[in-house]
């Protein structure tokens, strides 16, 4: 089993040049909610693994109506070529002229493909097994064109834009991805029985592109049937391509099927830029600042970032660490630790117990002992009665002669 990257190398898409002694500069937009803490985890992880990436942090204030913040962020991404971002909250109480910052970023930089790879991870208990679906969602048009008007009070018209150019582009991206990754089937998701012009155009474009890829089977499915099939037999899907809104819903269903929003990374690719984030784009306000957010999604997104920068060694090292953590048979998913090549073990533990943790200090990479405690909500816990794990005390027990330090963590619910 391996967590594969869905990086698609293109001839004219060149990774940004390394600067200042071989180190890349990547724009980091922390965002709101759990974004800042996840960004902090990524920074600390990269620091410990000595990844040659420097983050240029650009904060975007979601409460302000002026677009200066987001324009600064866009300029920074244009400068650096890649970004790692958290979700920026869209305040619904502001007037309609205030556009969603995330959508503004995507449309301005023309990040036309949003790719999310939902894979069943060993060690994560879910109802369905062996899911491996790549969802490719058109990111810039469709229902998210932000074109709404109220000509008559109480009657709102919302325009859904589907264009031939963009539909052909996203279909082409989907088929190229399928070919590069050796996938067999591409399914187009639509609602052409109701929206025969809009989704009909999308479907037609997909069929046109499909004719150029004879080795790949192409079929189409209506979106409501798709969601039903996804919850009953998700193994039938391989690569799915769809317009914006259906992509939003379907990719979230896929994320839910493999274990939730904390596990799946997402990537937005354009002609010239790439932005990486968590797959389900949640701000997670209700769990912010409680040290309980699952960092897996953001860490896997940072691995996608590293693959994009052609730092494959570091990416596979971090992926292996995440995978070995999750698949460790002695570790249930409500406790997990991150083990890095280089030797620092970071722990999340079962509730109401104390554990002896061994920190391997022998790696030349670590000069100081830093204990990062991440607490993960178990996916099998009911949302209505969450049990949060709070770490209360860390006792330094002893240091043994093998250059290891044993730490005892007391946890309580």
């Amino acid at each position: 089993f391996s967590l594969e990257t869905h990086l698609l190398p293109r001839k004219n898409l060149v990774a940004p040049p390394a600067r200042y002694g071989g180190r890349h500069t990547v724009t980091l937009i922390p965002g709101d909610g759990i974004g800042p803490e996840l960004a902090k985890h990524v920074c600390e992880l990269f620091r410990f693994c000595c990844v040659p990436v420097d983050f240029e942090v650009v904060n975007v204030d979601s409460t302000k109506t002026s677009e200066d913040d987001i324009n600064n962020a866009i300029m920074a991404i244009r400068r650096n070529g890649v970004a790692l971002k958290g979700n920026i909250e869209t305040n619904h109480n502001l007037p309609p002229s205030h556009k969603s910052r995330n959508s503004l970023l995507r449309t301005t930089l023309d990040l036309y493909a949003s790719v999310m790879h939902s894979q069943s991870l060993p060690g994560v208990r879910t109802h369905h097994r062996n899911i491996d679906i790549i969802t490719i969602r058109e990111n810039t048009e469709g229902e998210y064109s932000s074109l709404e008007h109220e000509s008559v009070p109480g009657v709102v018209e919302c325009l859904k834009i589907i264009t031939r150019t963009k539909s052909l582009r996203i279909a082409d991206y989907a088929f190229r991805t399928a070919r590069e990754k050796g996938r067999r089937r591409v399914t187009a998701i639509h609602k052409a029985n109701i929206m025969s012009l809009g989704d009909g155009l999308f479907l037609e474009c997909c069929k046109e592109v499909a004719s150029g890829y004879p080795e790949i089977t192409f079929n189409s499915m209506i979106v409501d049937n798709t969601t039903m099939q996804l919850v009953s037999r998700p193994q039938q899907f391989d690569v799915m391509v769809m317009p914006n809104l259906y992509g939003n819903v379907v990719s979230n269903v896929c994320a839910g099927l493999v274990g939730g929003p904390g596990l799946v990374p997402g990537a937005n690719y354009g002609e010239n830029y790439a932005v990486f984030e968590t797959g389900t784009r949640n701000t997670g306000k209700s769990i912010a600042n409680r040290n309980t957010a699952n960092p897996t999604a953001m860490l896997l997104a940072s691995c996608l970032l590293l693959d994009h920068l052609k730092l494959h060694g570091y990416a596979s090292m971090i992926r292996k660490a995440i995978l070995s953590t999750i698949t460790d048979s002695q570790v249930r998913f409500d406790q997990c630790y991150m083990q890095f090549v280089g030797g620092i073990q970071l722990l999340l533990l079962r509730p109401a117990l104390y554990f002896d943790i061994t920190l391997n200090m022998s790696s030349p990479l670590c000069s100081s002992c830093t204990l990062l405690i991440w607490e993960v909500r178990a996916p099998h816990l009911k949302w209505s009665s969450p049990s949060w794990m709070q770490s209360r005390a860390v006792d330094l027990a002893h240091r043994d002669t093998r250059n290891q330090m044993t730490v005892r963590l007391h946890l309580s619910l």
Binding site: K191, D224, M228, L245, V249, N252, G256, G260, T280, K382
Partner: protein
Amino acid sequence: MNADVCVQRTRHPSRSSMALILFRAFLTCPDACVFQMVQDPTQFDVLVMPNLYGDILSDLCAGLIGGLGVTPSGNIGANGVAIFESVHGTAPDIAGMDLANPTALLLSAVMMLRHMGLHDHADKIQTACFDTIRDKKVRLKSLLGGLQYFCSFKSKFQTMKAACL
């Protein structure tokens, strides 16, 4: 995320005529809703949404409970006009062969009876239907993708008739 108070008049004879239902209005996007739905559908009770999201989410929920073959539905209009229907396909290949699964249409009929206020009859038929499904002697086969439903209709109907009387 506002707490709101809803007053609903209930027509069920066993409950009081005015029931005060306190609910927390969940303002949630369809994407946030769907992954919660897939992970833990029991947290949801009643969902209200516009047309497109309703189409998608209702089929998703139908998939969670066993498919369109067991899902009842009703379309309620103004002035008490209502049409109740089963939302599965016509399955022409098994038509006339006494194989079709009647559960969806039967439960839709139960919904219709409740709409008309005939709660006793509705309860009887619903209980009989559930008991028949639970009964291991009658096997229900359904293929979710092909919308084909096989059921030994005659024996199921006879069991239900016996249970009703």
